[in-house]
């Protein structure tokens, strides 16, 4: 079976689960855990293939031109991680069935859960560094959605955002590091990279690579100084924490460090950066965990400290330490996942996670208590449990390492201290909440959890026990397989045994356990009296506050820069755009002087010159009137547009003329609709412009004239040349034989360049939806909320036909009687014109775009003469659906070609004989064109009616209107 199956199966099933019934807990959980368990079983059967350092490698060509392939690569280390991910995934999926409440939308949970599993498997099996980063970011994104699963809760929102910002930023650093690394090695292929460790370490760019990659790893694994996001991420549902924050996502950081261990480690810099961060986190995490009161927070800080331990082991530059790190990854996953699940059961059954309120639960839930006790003993490093073994290996490494004297002496002390802290918080979790007098003020009456909710924990705790008692038989082979690729070929000597005799590590363990128990008793006494509620000394250093401050600072500066680069006022922006364009054009003119071409010119016709004089008069007039007389400006612009349309027709471009005239009408209507809501500018107020303002206006005028003249000159220079490189002959020649139509413009739009058109109509649809969404919440300025002057001028009680502007029938029956009759008669006529333009479009001027505009205008005409209530009372237009159906139709037409084995959007022309009509040719591009038509109709109607509906809302809010009435009518 292909390795890609490993990634695709959870991914596809996750997508299917997203659309399943939201409350089908049992079937969703069953599906998710069965799939994960099946993948685990399959992976275990692969064990013989990855034994002895062998690698399974599968490649799919991705972008061969730049040497990028999709590579899946399963060596022993990746195999071990994959088993962890799928195995713990199966258990957590089963557990979540009972944890999630019937009211939670669990289909979203399981869909994201499986998608996350797929992404995480992608991280560990990537054989290409770029690909690894892509999956890496994917895990950050999906974990954002999972942490924010209860998105109505503020803490979930904040926790999710913080996790995304920290891990996402780390991923960005990692991408940078990977690119530099690929540059050094000359390939992004992991096998090549793993084989060139000496070259990387000797390269001058080694330090930047190391820092960037380690930044990515430390952020992901919540290492100091990026540790703060993990405790906030505890707002996630507990199954998410059990899966992401114990076994998988946070392990991705240490996975990366171990993955690149043979390439990057072995230097002083590696020791200080990685080992330093690990040591700091180890101590800090375990110290803070002692003083937390939230069960999950205790676990979060302990996870941090255990990850710190692994990081420190990887940072020690010794192969033996790396093996111990890999071992601890496995052990930690087992006991921490079971502890998270136990914490979830306690929370679920008692309704609180506050350690101060939870005591004496043993009598109510003995099974859960026993499981939690064993798992926390493993966390504390008690002998005969798995945590003890890897911890002992860690102690041995700290004792026998060689470095500077103070490090050699300090590290064992630090390790013992952290182990003492670990014993204290383990006791608080495993002992404190289950023993003592039974709690009486719990929010819920606790009872034992359901059988199958405990089963996953039982299995994991069993693993802890088996590994702890018979390590070399149970975990030995798997550890050897997993650790071999990390250390790069040769495994160091190590012994997996419970008893090594009376050695220094054993004494350290014993010291940690005895001192830890004593410290726990003292701390508990103090905490009962209300002391030591926060971690002493460091409670004042709040990393989260620093993070918030940093974010604030970032936003502030972003805003300041934005203020300079993108001011809210239109005038400076336009000035900058035009000035820069002009400047660039002038610079270009220095190299390439302007010269007229020699193309043969048409003789000027007096009528045409006059026509253009009219057009120019209209355009200049519109610009002059735009400030105080907007309606006049709109009318004049209509004139200018009409002249443009005539110009197109004059020079034999009738299809452009058709489009121009349709767009012209829609634009006029749009402006008029908007004009209704613009507050009036009164020239009579006589505001005198200051000298500075007048100077600025003169400057702008000069710039406008210069840019306009420049553009006109350029156009003239272009038009006087013939274009030998033109692509138009190409399309003209091929339109009929290859596109099946004589109208080259339309054939280009729906066939040759159909992908562009598809993109354009998608953008059009998106813009229409955006306009609609923005206008739904838009409220006009208070001074324009008032009904227009003309409507107010008519007293309500006068019996003319102008009465009743707000009744459904009023507008249509009243003064608009005659235009209404004409407009309604015109509706079928315009629809016939549209049908004609559409059907003929492939061979002669026309097509879906113009036809769509004509239909939209036909409908808008009805709105104008009859009012929106009248129209919408009689038809359900649903422009949004038009857009959707249009896009669907166009896309399906394009995809149809793929199903028949042709490239996307290939058109086919069918010829068949129809009775009465004769020979008909019918290209499939017609369906595509129909899609364009639908989108155009939908988008135009959606935008125009969205503005039109403002009038209806305005009338509904008389209280807002009341205030300005007196003010306006006073003079």
């Amino acid at each position: 079976m292909s390795l890609f199956f490993l990634l695709l199966l959870p991914f596809l099933v996750g997508l299917v689960m997203a659309v399943m019934p939201t409350r089908a807990r049992t079937s969703l959980a069953g599906g998710a855990s069965l799939i994960s368990a099946g993948l685990t079983a399959w992976l275990i059967t692969l064990y013989p293939l990855v034994r002895d350092g062998q690698v399974i490698r599968q490649t799919v060509s991705w972008i061969p031109s730049i040497g990028l392939d999709l590579i899946l690569r399963l060596d022993g280390f990746a195999w071990m991680f994959s088993v962890l991910i799928t195995g713990i995934g199966a258990l957590v999926a089963l557990y979540a069935r009972y944890y999630m409440s019937p009211a939670d939308p669990v289909s979203r949970f399981y869909a994201l859960f499986l998608l996350f599993m797929s992404a995480m498997l992608g991280v560990v099996t990537s054989g290409n560094l770029i690909q690894l980063v892509v999956f890496w970011e994917l895990t950050s994104l999906i974990s954002f959605l999972l942490i924010g699963y209860w998105h109505h809760r503020v803490d979930a929102q904040r926790g999710a955002r913080m996790a995304l910002i920290v891990t996402g930023a780390g991923g960005l650093a990692l991408l940078g590091g990977v690119i530099v690394l690929g540059h050094i090695v000359g390939s992004f292929d992991l096998d090549v990279v793993l084989g060139s460790g000496d070259r990387v370490r000797a390269h001058p760019l080694y330090a930047p690579v190391l820092i960037l990659v380690v930044l990515g790893a430390l952020t992901k694994s919540a290492q100091f100084p990026f540790h703060f996001w993990l405790s906030r991420a505890m707002a996630a549902p507990t199954p998410v924490s059990a899966f992401l924050h114990s076994a998988t996502m946070v392990k991705a950081g240490v996975f990366l460090l171990a993955r690149l261990w043979s390439v990057l480690s072995g230097t002083e810099l590696w020791f200080w950066v990685v080992g330093g961060a690990g040591a700091a986190t180890l101590l800090l995490g375990s110290y803070i965990a002692m003083f937390q009161h939230d069960l999950k927070r205790v676990l979060a800080y302990s996870t941090m400290s255990h990850l710190g331990l692994i990081t420190l082991l990887l940072g020690l530059n010794s192969p033996l330490a790396a093996v111990a790190g890999v071992f601890h990854i496995m052990n930690h996953a087992a006991f921490k996942a079971s502890l998270f699940m136990a914490a979830g059961i306690v929370d679920h059954e008692t309704g609180t996670r506050d350690i101060r309120r939870l005591t004496g639960l043993w009598s109510r839930m003995p099974y859960t208590g026993a499981l939690a006790l064993v798992a926390s003993a493993a966390m504390a490093g008690v002998p005969l449990l798995n945590g003890f073994l890897s911890k002992e290996m860690f102690f041995a490494e700290t004792v026998f390492m060689t470095s500077q004297p103070w490090v050699e002496r300090g590290l064992p002390v630090l390790a013992t201290l952290a182990a003492i802290f670990a014993v204290v918080y383990s006791l608080r979790f495993g002992y404190g909440i289950f023993f003592g007098s039974p709690a009486t003020d719990l929010p819920r009456e606790p009872e034992e959890a359901p059988r199958w909710m405990r089963a996953p924990i039982e299995l994991l705790v069993l693993c802890c026990l088996i590994v702890g008692m018979a390590p070399s038989v149970s975990i030995g082979p798997a550890l050897a397989v997993a650790a071999l690729p990390v250390v790069g070929g040769v495994l160091p000597e190590y012994s997996l045994a419970v008893w090594h005799g009376f050695t220094a590590p054993l004494y350290m363990s014993l010291i940690a356990i005895t001192v830890g128990i004593a410290a726990y008793v003292r701390i508990r006494r103090h905490q009962r009296r209300g002391h030591l509620q926060n971690a002493p000394v460091i409670e004042r250093f709040n990393a989260r506050r620093l993070f918030d401050l940093g974010l604030l600072w970032l936003t502030l500066w972003a805003r300041r820069i934005l203020k300079v680069l993108s001011p809210a006022r239109l005038q400076p922006q336009m000035f900058a755009i035009i000035a820069i364009a002009l400047l660039l054009a002038l610079l270009a003119a220095r190299d390439l002087p302007l010269a007229w071409g020699e193309r043969e010119q048409l003789p000027a016709s007096a009528a045409f010159v006059l026509l253009w004089a009219i057009g120019m008069a209209c355009a200049i007039g519109a610009a002059m009137m735009a400030k105080f007389h907007r309606l006049v400006a709109i009318t004049l612009m209509g004139g200018a547009g009409l002249v443009t349309c005539l110009t197109f027709a004059w020079f034999s471009a009738p299809d452009l003329a058709l489009t121009q005239i349709s767009v012209e009408v829609v634009t006029t209507t749009l402006f008029l609709l908007g004009l209704r809501w613009l507050p009036v500018r009164l020239e009579e107020l006589g505001v005198v412009a200051s000298a500075r303002t007048r100077l600025r206006r003169a400057r702008d005028l000069l710039l406008a004239i210069a840019a306009g003249t420049g553009l006109a000159t350029l156009s003239y220079a272009m038009l006087t040349r013939s274009a030998p490189q033109s692509i138009s002959p190409f399309f003209l020649e091929r339109a009929l034989p290859e596109g099946g139509g004589t109208n080259a413009v339309n054939v280009m739009l729906v066939d040759f360049r159909a992908l562009d058109t598809l993109g354009e109509i998608t953008v059009l649809g998106a813009v229409a939806l955006t306009v609609y969404a923005l206008l739904r919440r838009f409220r006009p300025a208070a001074e324009s909320m008032l009904a227009p002057r003309q409507q107010r001028a008519v007293p309500a009680d006068v019996g003319t036909d102008l009465v009743g502007p707000t009744t459904v029938e009023g507008v249509a029956r009243g003064y608009m009687g005659v235009p209404t009759v004409i407009a309604r008669l015109l509706l079928p006529v315009m629809l016939v014109v549209a049908a004609h333009l559409f059907l003929r479009g492939h061979n002669q001027p026309g097509g879906g775009f113009v036809a769509g505009l004509v239909i939209a205008i036909a409908m808008i005409t009805q709105y104008i003469v009859s009012g929106s209530r009248f129209v919408e009372g009689r038809t359900r237009l649903l422009p949004g659906r038009w857009v959707a159906w249009g896009l669907l139709l166009a896309t399906c037409t394009g995809l149809g070609a793929i199903t028949l084995g042709y490239p996307l959007l290939t058109s086919h022309t069918a010829h068949f004989a129809v009775p009465l009509l004769g020979d008909v040719h019918f290209p499939t591009a017609t369906f595509f064109d129909l899609g364009v038509l639908f989108v155009v109709v939908g988008a135009t109607l959606l935008m125009l009616t969205a503005i039109a509906h403002q009038s209806l809302r305005a009338h509904r809010q008389p209280s807002v209107v009341a205030a300005p009435v007196a003010h306006v009518e006073a003079p």
Binding site: A607, G621, W650, L658, S662, L673, A787, Q790, T861
Partner: protein
């Protein structure tokens, strides 16, 4: 095409251009909004006639359709403007 037709076309186009110049005076000077709306309507009317004449000149019947569209949309445009002048909003 006979000289007569060519001459007639040139003459007709010239006349429409002159007429449009007169329209433009109304369009710019007003004085009332109603004057301007009527002027624009007349301009559309002229444009439609120009299209018809161009159709004869170019011997291409597509221009007839352009003329038809101008006639249709001229009505819509004038109706919208008229509605705005009369009621202060285009779609109630």
């Amino acid at each position: 095409m006979s000289t007569l037709v060519t001459g007639a076309i040139t003459f007709a186009l010239g006349c429409y251009a002159l007429a449009s110049i007169l329209v433009i005076v109304r369009l710019v000077r007003g004085p009332s909004a109603q004057d301007r709306v009527s002027a624009l309507d007349l301009l559309y009317f002229h444009a439609m006639l120009v299209m018809l004449v161009l159709s004869i000149g170019h011997r291409n019947d597509v221009y007839f359709e352009a003329a038809l569209l101008i006639a249709l949309f001229g009505f819509v445009s004038s109706a919208a403007l008229a509605k705005f002048v009369l009621r202060g909003e285009v779609i109630e």
